[in-house]
Symmetry: C2
Amino acid sequence: MTDHIRIVEVGPRDGLQNEKLQVPTDLKIRFIEALAAAGLREIEATSFVSPKRVPQLADAEALWPMLSHGPAFSALTPNLKGLERAISLDVDRIAVFTAASETFTQKNINMSIDQSIETFAEMISIFRASRPTGFVRGYVSTAFECPYEGRIDPGQTVRVIEKLLNLGVDEVSIGDTIGVAAPPEVKSLTRLVLNVMSRGKITYHFHDTNGTAIANVAEAMEMGIESFDSSAGGLGGCPFAPGAGGNLATEDLVYFLERCGIPTHVDLYRLATSSLEILKVLGRSPCAKGQLARLSLSGTSPT
Amino acid sequence: MTDHIRIVEVGPRDGLQNEKLQVPTDLKIRFIEALAAAGLREIEATSFVSPKRVPQLADAEALWPMLSHGPAFSALTPNLKGLERAISLDVDRIAVFTAASETFTQKNINMSIDQSIETFAEMISIFRASRPTGFVRGYVSTAFECPYEGRIDPGQTVRVIEKLLNLGVDEVSIGDTIGVAAPPEVKSLTRLVLNVMSRGKITYHFHDTNGTAIANVAEAMEMGIESFDSSAGGLGGCPFAPGAGGNLATEDLVYFLERCGIPTHVDLYRLATSSLEILKVLGRSPCAKGQLARLSLSGTSPT
């Protein structure tokens, strides 16, 4: 097993876009600063998405300049307009978002997969011209199963990944958007994906709807994958995916890695407390196991 | 991978012994019947423990005769007195309970490990004389880590397992009592355990305090283990282990196995609803991922 695993914290973006309530910008900033203080080095901070479509992230322009230095911050740019907003703020790490499922892509971003790829081609060209050393992540959601289409053929997922690679993305984040996958599927898909790309460019984005996320991480690590998305407190889900549960909790991921002897340099207690204020505003109790365990051990009441 | 995994449901015993409130006997019966109706074939129904020590299970005599036929029911018999009570009710599947940690054993059952083994020798001899075809399970708790002593040397765990095997137990349930283990530890311990016993006699009993239980099950299955304890709704913990979280939820285990293509013959929705009445009485919300997912998908409010 490896001695280094990369953690990409997606709570501030993927965690909050799904919530009914809007979180005040200053609270988001405190959340992000707490995540950084806990030791997280890569944080997807927001999305330059249409404020009408995702009002929860309508404060992207206000939030971005307030991010302190330290971690590498990135932002989702779902379309050309979002990219222009990001470029005007000197965002140098962007992410584009498509899916392995045609139906999901249509419902989620109102394009076909091929249309999304054409859009990304133009966006990435503009971004590279503006930020030659910038970093581009490509998301492929519903990589295992779609809430509308059911199981996705791994070959289809690999074809979408190849289209993103042809655009020159720096990495691909492969998402189990509704959190249904189990390790044998992770093994099969990873084997196919490794035929078309190097393992260093692969990130897995697991949701923990059914409690399989850490087992999936373990399986992916067995296959040599060294990068995982997660969300503090297990915040989030997918606003357009019925039945989607929360993201893999960063607390669970960090606990697992540390217990496996892989140093994360993340302070698990600080991490466990980082989302408490947000959860309170959202009217939710902490539910991630690794978070509850830290809060319980520390004597802090989890509710 | 195997095509059959044995599930031993421990919710009615291990799940309820830790609760502050006492659950009425008729509610326990309905819970157990719901578990059986969901398709569970082996259920640890109660413990013939001192009513003073664990008042939650003081109704063992009232409960046992009311269990319907179908599943194989078992009961914990912590000492000679408990065994006598069990024998008088024709219980033919018993379990004895010791630990890999000397301190934990002392605090949990007020004996040294060797004293517990001596007691079990006498008990098993009496039980075999009374029920020649009876089944004896031996629990070894704190197999990975003890809340008092910290990490347990795997060699120590194996030595306790060997002592139980020398008494002629039919199986050993190896417990991560405080739910801290990660897959590499499961792999190391399993490798050592397989040197002293056949895999068919090994059951793992994981707690999910830190979200690693399913990953541990997956690792154990990779090593050929085919039997796991779990508790509906993730009920339970350990009354004498500070910081102990709930058992691995049967819902999570069943979901995982089914998604791996291993038939369990358990109705996941019926299982997910089986503990709801108990949880309500205990004033707790469902928290197991696999349970929440089923309830949410069915439109039943989980809270």
